[in-house]
């Protein structure tokens, strides 16, 4: 319960930072999607029985819905879809392995970008490869940072 409440507050502030601070640090017209990377990280490290990954997927998506002009619920559904996709992929990979994370991160980001491009097709097809690369590189950096502090963080997530 405490973890869930903490996650809800954490993702709220993460969404604010993403839309108000990180917008000034775009590359090739694309901004860093910290909320999505955090959803992927939590779902990668969580235990099989835990529901926290899906909850943060929904919460992160909900906050992105609040701060975006798109159809309400779009990012909430996308967040949950990414969380469920990672849960489906995890049994095929060795967890705690760097290569496993890279593959899952890439698939999750690609899935997100393609679904987003398809759902916003009415405005033109906006699949941006730089968004994928930018988020992929930052995702790897955040994974490595997480592993440096992994003892404390993983014990907390897996409780």
């Amino acid at each position: 319960m405490v973890k869930t409440i903490f996650s809800l507050i954490f993702f709220y502030f993460l969404a604010i930072i993403q839309t108000s601070f990180l917008v000034h640090y775009e590359i090739m017209g694309r901004m860093l999607n910290l909320v999505l990377i955090s959803i992927i990280l939590v779902n990668f490290f969580e235990k099989k029985e835990s529901k926290l990954g899906v909850i943060v997927g929904a919460a992160g998506g909900f906050y992105l819905d609040i701060f975006s002009p798109y159809f309400p619920g779009l990012f909430s559904v996308l967040g949950i879809a990414v969380a469920l996709l990672i849960r489906m992929l995890k049994p095929f990979f060795e967890i705690r392995k760097f290569v496993s994370f890279i593959i899952i991160l890439f698939i999750a980001l690609l899935f997100y970008e393609i679904i987003l491009a398809l759902t916003t097709l009415a405005n033109g097809f906006y699949f941006n490869i730089f968004s994928l690369i930018y988020n992929f590189l930052v995702g790897i950096i955040l994974y490595l940072l997480t592993r440096v502090f992994h003892v404390a963080i993983q014990k907390w997530v897996r409780k």
Partner: protein
């Protein structure tokens, strides 16, 4: 235990669907609540981001900055010579006004607003004033240099969402300054605008200024839109396509104005 697990899954699903429908039908009040709550924090982060992003934009846009610098130096030379001519005209104008006792041209009633956030994909921003401050949908937004920024799209209690002129759903009539050429400006997303419906026979010059023509009720005439950067003519269509670089730069923007009258 199995039943408990099953029921908890069903409960979770029902709750998720319930909250989704709640958000779907109550999106305005929900958004209004979150925007009101987040305003101070968003404003702080936006200001800090603006102050600290100079190094980042310099790092990734060095080539563009160099070209921009060269273009600005050339333009500066042209403007210096024009300033001298304009000063003479200004003095003459002032003398004539005094003689004829003419009034000033109409002014805008402007509401000063701050930017709080920007959408992660589209060309939308959120500002810190809403219905309580007299903001209404479709009001025009400009900056202090009378450059067109966009239009009010949705209004909440203490905040509003602005659709930038570069958004893909934005279309408005413009004209090329110092000529009679009228066109339709169409946002392309990602800070791009194109001009359409310009006859192939019309002469369009690079670096020409584009301004609003005032044909729509929403946008007053004479607001700066951008500069022409590229011209595409083919024999396949009767119209030429023109790329416009918007003069408004969201990356360097903090204070903007809403035209309230």
């Amino acid at each position: 235990m199995w039943l408990n697990k099953k029921y908890s899954k069903i409960l979770f699903l029902v709750l998720a669907i319930f909250f989704l429908f709640l958000f779907l039908f109550l999106q305005r009040p929900v958004r209004s609540f979150f925007y009101s709550m987040s305003q101070p924090v968003q404003q702080w982060f936006w200001t800090k981001g603006l102050e600290n992003s100079g190094f980042w934009s310099g790092l990734f846009n060095a080539k563009d900055l160099k070209i921009q610098n060269q273009n600005l130096q050339e333009e500066n030379q042209i403007f210096l010579s024009r300033t001298a001519e304009m000063n003479e005209l200004k003095e003459e104008n002032q003398r004539l006004r005094e003689i004829l006792d003419l009034g000033l041209t109409k002014d805008f009633k402007l509401l000063e607003v701050n930017i709080l956030s920007r959408d992660i994909i589209n060309d939308f921003i959120v500002i810190n004033k809403g219905t309580e401050d007299g903001i209404k949908e479709r009001m025009t937004v400009i900056n202090y240099q009378k450059v067109l920024v966009g239009q009010v799209d949705e209004v909440y209690k203490n905040s509003s969402r602005i659709q930038l002129l570069t958004d893909s759903k934005m279309k408005f009539s413009v004209e090329i300054a110092d000529s009679n050429v009228q066109a339709l400006a169409h946002g392309q997303g990602n800070r791009k605008i194109i001009l359409d419906l310009i006859s192939r026979d019309e002469e369009v010059l690079r670096d020409a200024l584009v301004i609003t023509s005032g044909l729509e009720v929403d946008f007053p005439s004479g607001l700066l839109v951008g500069k022409i950067r590229g011209i595409e003519k083919t024999d396949l269509t009767p119209f030429q396509k023109v790329d416009v670089e918007p003069l408004f730069n969201i990356q360097a923007a903090d204070l903007i104005f809403i035209i309230a009258n």
